[in-house]
Amino acid sequence: MAGFNKVVTTYEDAMSGLQDGMTVIAGGFGLCGIPENLIAEIKRLKTKNLTVVSNNCGVDGFGLGILLEDKQVSKMVSSYVGENALFEKQVLNGELDVELTPQGTLAEKMRAGGAGIPGFYTATGVGTPVAEGKDTRFFNGREYLLEEAITGDFAIVKGWKADRYGNVIYRHTAQNFNPMAATAGKITVVEVEELVEVGELDPAHIHTPGIYVDRVIVGTFEKRIENRTTSE
């Protein structure tokens, strides 16, 4: 009996069940806090025609960028995708569809998806190309857009520490989209740097409670820096 034990020991098990045409929600901001080994496993699986929901799409050769190399992604839902030459090429060729979504709207779409809220109204994007085809409504004299929630067949998440029950904490700004992504997957897979004993994490400091998490795996991470800037 596995009970609440969410730990898996191979990346094959971690991504078991991923199929062509599925939607995958990924945590991360730029290359910070990305589930780099879970992404590598998707590449190994050669799964095709994926819809990937992530704030960015990695860079050439790292992060989600590696899924473009074998044309595994047919659609990206992102707020900013400027760091990736292969991405640009595939968009211009019509091989890759992009749904640009304001960053806060994207975070809220994931949050709403995980919370069972099918849509929400926001002022973000009113009067812009983002509003095209969407319902609007006035509240207290101001116009708002109806945005729909996002859920995924899989959510892939990068945590710092987790216990075997799937309680997760994130490190510094590697938190970013990860907690929302974790709530919005039918199967949520979290890879972490360290597995700790149940009871070791302060219950009041847990960012993602284990109820959202289906699988936990411990990995080693390159943590590539996109824009190394120092005071010297």
């Binding site: 400027g82 806060g104 590697a174 929302m180 120092t230 010297e232």
Partner: protein, 218 residues
């Protein structure tokens, strides 16, 4: 003389108030952090999930898990907080940020802003800009007054796809400080040595020039 990038940042910094939570965009807005007056407490919000952004780290304290919205490595000040993207945009959309400073391609007399998309050029995305302009009440746009070809960026109607509608009230260009009131740009201050004629010539949108327009002092 048109303002330098640093002078623009200095002028924006004069709008800061003690106790302000401030979001600074990429480019000139980022420079504002270098000119926070001594003794004034200002907290910088970075929309990737950091309130209390500090300076860039030293070589040996670089941490891949500690970045700002421009994906640069940064530090956090004592008393900072770190949170998710949803929490970060709750602060922004909920109007909790006191001042937002960001760049633009165009602004018009209705307070519309275009800052993210030039048709037929590569579209990288809006990032958090649409959330910032829709959520903030107090926004300063920083940009050059005209393009390198001399085309005005202060228009009657924005020609580019919008980032936000009717949300801009204050614009600092390299030539002037202007505020948008009743469907016009009102010239409030001019850069040292810049004539009103030059500003008029480079402003396509309706411009109101009060009797006295002080020069900025640096």
């Amino acid at each position: 003389m048109a303002l330098s990038r640093d002078q623009m940042a200095i002028r924006v910094a004069r709008e800061l108030q003690d106790g302000y939570y401030v979001n600074l965009g990429i480019g000139i807005p980022t420079l504002v952090a270098n000119f926070i007056p001594d003794g004034m407490e200002v907290m910088l919000q970075s929309e990737n999930g950091l309130l209390g952004m500090g300076s860039f780290p030293s070589e040996d304290s670089v941490d891949a898990d500690m970045i700002n919205a421009g994906k640069q490595t940064v530090t956090a000040v004592s008393g900072s907080s770190i949170f998710s993207s949803a929490e970060s945009f709750a602060m922004i959309r909920g109007g909790h940020v006191d001042l937002t400073v960001l760049g633009a391609f165009e602004v018009d007399v209705s307070g519309n802003i275009a800052s993210w998309m030039i048709p037929k050029k590569l579209i990288k995305g809006m990032g958090g800009a649409m959330d910032l302009v829709a959520g903030a009440d107090n926004i300063i746009v920083t940009m050059t007054h005209a393009s390198k070809n001399g085309d005005s960026k202060l228009l009657d109607v924005c020609s580019l796809p919008l980032t936000g509608k009717g949300c801009i009230k204050k614009v600092l260009t390299d030539l002037a400080w202007l505020e948008i009131e009743n469907g016009a740009f009102v010239l409030k201050e001019r850069a040292p040595g810049v004539s009103i004629e030059e500003i008029k010539a480079k402003t396509q949108g309706r411009l109101i020039v009060p009797e006295h327009v002080p020069e900025m002092v640096f």
